[in-house]
Every structure is written in C-alpha cells, then in structure tokens.
C-alpha cells in the first residue's frame, strides 16, 4: 500500500467480488477490468501506473451504485492513479485534448469563447482562485508534459 499512498485508502475495502466489472461499460468493449486494477493496487503492483488501461474508465459511476461496500468509489481510485501516473510523466496523450478548454476557461470564463456573457470581474476572480489553489500550476505542469511527450 505504501507504494500507492496517493490512492484513496478506501481501496482496502474491496472484497474482489467483481460486481463492478460485471456492470462496467468499459469492460464490455475492452480489456479494462476495474476489479483487476484494484487488485493490482492492493498488491502494490506499480506497473499499473504505466498501463494505458487506467485511462479507459468512463467515470460513469455505475460501479459506485453496484459495489456492496459503502464509500468505495472505484472511479475516484482511478483518478488517483491517473494523477499519480501524470506526476510520474505518463498519460499525457490522454489529457492533451482538454488543455485548450482549460486555457479558454481562464481567458473567457467558459470552455469556448462567447457561449454566454461572463463579466470581467468573474474572469479576474477565477484567475486569482486558479493561482491560489494550484489549478494554474497543474495546468502548466500538464502542458509541459504534453510538450515533452511530443518530442
């Protein structure tokens, strides 16, 4: 577990019953298997971080509803793994497409220019919050990773 200290501690609640996988849409159409991924996390298998399968979760939350264990949210664990992977330099290919939308957000207050009117004050405030909460730093870090991955 120590190897995955960023991953939500809730993962230890997993009973390995497989209900999640049985109802998972990603499992129906690919090799993605959430139960296996959770098992690998519990086994401390760090190779899961470089496994492109972690990017196949659709974050649909079906497993949250089907899981017998209260408070165990598999997509949250997947997001933790993705975060961990990105911080180790993997997965730029999966997040690159959304970067322009985040840039637009800080420029226009919306993911596309002119969807609805946004006041200059609102834009100023989200930029301030972006600085203070580390949101902008993460964006820059992700941009750098995407650039480096292109090289």
């Amino acid at each position: 577990m120590t190897k995955f200290k960023l991953v939500s501690a809730d993962v230890i609640k997993c009973l390995s019953c497989g209900r999640c996988t049985g109802y998972c849409p990603a499992s129906r159409v690919s090799d993605y298997n959430i139960r296996h991924i959770l098992n690998r996390v519990l086994d401390g298998d760090t190779s899961v971080l470089t496994d492109s399968l972690i990017w196949l979760c659709f974050i649909c939350g079906t497993c949250i509803v089907k899981c017998p264990q209260e408070g165990l949210w598999p997509p949250k664990i997947i997001q933790n793994l993705r975060e961990y992977a990105l911080n180790k330099g993997h997965g730029a290919w999966a997040v690159a497409h959304l970067i322009p939308a985040v840039d637009n957000f800080f420029k226009y207050g919306a993911v596309l220019k002119g969807i609805f009117p946004v006041s200059p004050k609102a834009i100023e405030e989200i930029n301030k919050l972006g600085e203070l909460t580390g949101m902008k730093a993460i964006l820059e870090k992700r941009k750098k990773l995407v650039e480096e991955s292109k090289e």
């Binding site: 990603a26 196949l56 649909c60 939350g61 509803v65 997001q79 999966a94 497409h97 989200i126 993460i138």
Partner: protein, 317 residues
C-alpha cells in the same frame, strides 16, 4: 427507491415555487441553443422566476474528471459560482448532468476533507466570498424541476404527445454520481416516463436504460472506438423497442446520442434516425415554440422532423 430518494421527492413536491431560482448556464448550450431557450419559456409560462448572472462561469467539471485541475481548484470554482447563485436564490438549476455532478462533487470534497475545506475557505476570502453549504444552495437537475412543474406544464401545452413512443435517457452523472441527492432509484429511474404519460405520450422501456451514452466525459476523444461501441450497445437496445424519439434530461447525453448516430452510419453502416431531444426542447414543441426560429432544431445532427410530423399541428392562434 431508498428512503433518501423518497425524502428528496417529498422535498421537491413541497418546494415553494414562489421564490426565484438560479439558472446555471452550461457549455453545451452552445450546441443546442433551443434547450436553454425552451427552459426559460417553460418557466415564464408556468410563473417561475428564473435568475441568471454574468458573474457565473463554466462549472469546470470535466477538467477535474480528466486530471487537469486539483480537487481544491475545482471546489473553489464551484464555490465561487455558488456564492453568485446565493445572492439570488437557494436553488440552482442545471440542464446538464456534468454541471449537476460537479457541484455535488465540490460539496463532497468540502465535507470529506477538512484540510481542503480550510484552504478553499481561505482562497474564497481573498475574493470577498465565503463557503456555501449544500443546505444554503441546493442543486436541482432541471429534469427534476420540470417534473415538479408537470401539472402546470400540462395546463399550458398547446398540443400533447399524440401517443408518440418515447425512450428516456437519464445519464450517469445524474443517476450514479450522487444518488443521495436525486429523486430517482439509480437502477430504475422513472419520473420522466411518468411525465411523458401525463403529456400524452407512451414511455418505451429498454434493457440498457442505465448504460452510459458513450461519452465518458471526453472518451470520445481519448478512446473513440470504445466510446462509440458503448453508445452503439445503448442505441441498439433503444431501437429494439421502436421509439419515435429519445428524450434526455442532460445536454451532454443529448449531444452524444445525437452525434453518434452519424458515426454509427459511417463506422457500422447502421442508420438509426431516432431524433434526440432534451426534455426542455420537447416541452418547448408542445407549448408551441417555433421549431426553427426558437428551438433551432436544425442544430440537431439527427433530424427531428419525423418526430415533429407525428405531433398534431398546433391550433391556429
């Protein structure tokens, strides 16, 4: 349905409609302008006061779901929008499940993580704002809100659904993400079907009602094949029950299910031609809004004309 969802339903039925409601704008309204237009008209006709503000921004939800922001950043952006809403109302209405679940997620973070809470609180103070709790601004999915208005809507429609067969898509980020905050059983939702009956239509059940539309936030870009295959499974299950229309309460699902039909034709040589409308647009047609000038039906990739033709003509003014 659990007791939590029953309580939510009771709370909704008792909701005082004589107060203003904050209408939260979302990015998908750029794709289907008729949805937002119809929603405002429905509210105006049923005596609901909607408030909007240019001080709101996008919800930023999908940045968080694809690891492009921090939980703290997303929570602060949500909290800022909630501060704006709170100036006008204790209720925020969203036409998109993405916005709906983002606000819920922000509330969850604040509740579960005391350290994050303190940091977000400090950040909010720098812009002269405070933390808003889920008791101060309640997030309401527009589908549920229109359900609350169902009897008023029935009184203002100019034509009914004329026994049209309609399949319903609720959407994952309504059903699964925060099941304690909705009026539906996430495994067997039915309030939109009830509404269809009230409005003179025939709800069509199908096996894959709770399956993802295929969007997966932005999996259409990251894993286009898997995304399309999931959407295809869902759509085949819908077609097997022969509907005239698919209606959804989420603008994001609307976009996915409408666009995907073009892709199915190209990738699988399979033509569906089942129109997809947001519940607001559907009611917009019944209250007599102009399909093109007001509802912008040509913004839909899958033509809606076959469905409009099934409705009785509007009575002459």
């Amino acid at each position: 349905m659990s007791s939590i969802q029953k309580n939510n339903l009771e709370k909704l039925e008792k909701l005082d409609l004589n107060q203003p409601f904050f209408n939260f704008r979302g990015c998908t309204e750029a794709v289907y302008p008729g949805t937002q237009y119809a929603f405002r008209k429905i509210c105006a006709l049923t005596g609901i006061k909607l408030v909007e503000s240019n001080d709101q921004t996008c919800c930023s939800g999908h940045f968080l779901l694809f690891n492009l922001t921090t939980s703290m950043g997303a929570t602060a952006i949500e909290q800022r929008n909630l501060n704006i809403a709170k100036r006008y109302s204790n209720w925020m209405i969203t036409l998109c499940n993405g916005c709906f679940s983002s606000f819920m997620l922000g509330y969850d973070f604040l509740q579960r993580d005391p350290e994050l809470r303190e940091k977000v609180k400090a950040a909010m103070q720098t812009i002269g704002m405070e933390l808003v709790s889920s008791k101060e601004v309640y997030i309401l999915q527009a589908g549920e809100f229109m359900y609350r208005l169902r009897h008023f809507i029935k009184n203002v429609i100019k034509r009914d659904l004329n026994r049209s067969r309609i399949a319903v898509q609720y959407g994952c980020h309504y059903l699964n993400a925060h099941p304690d905050n909705i009026i539906s059983d996430p495994e067997n939702p039915h309030f939109v079907e009830e509404m269809i009956q009230i409005l003179g239509g025939v709800p069509v059940e199908y096996q894959e009602k709770t399956l993802c539309c295929g969007s997966g936030v932005t999996q259409r870009k990251v894993h286009p094949n898997a995304s399309l295959m999931i959407g295809y499974e869902k759509m085949k299950s819908i077609r097997a029950n022969n509907p005239d229309l698919i209606v959804t309460i989420c603008t994001y699902c609307e976009m996915e299910m409408d666009n995907n039909q073009l892709e199915f034709a190209i990738e699988y040589s399979d033509d569906f031609h089942i129109p997809v409308l947001h519940l607001a647009e559907l009611i917009g047609l019944l209250i007599g809004l102009d399909p093109e000038k007001e509802l912008h039906m040509s913004s839909h990739k899958t033509s809606v004309q076959s469905f409009i033709d099934k409705l009785k003509p509007l009575p002459k003014e």
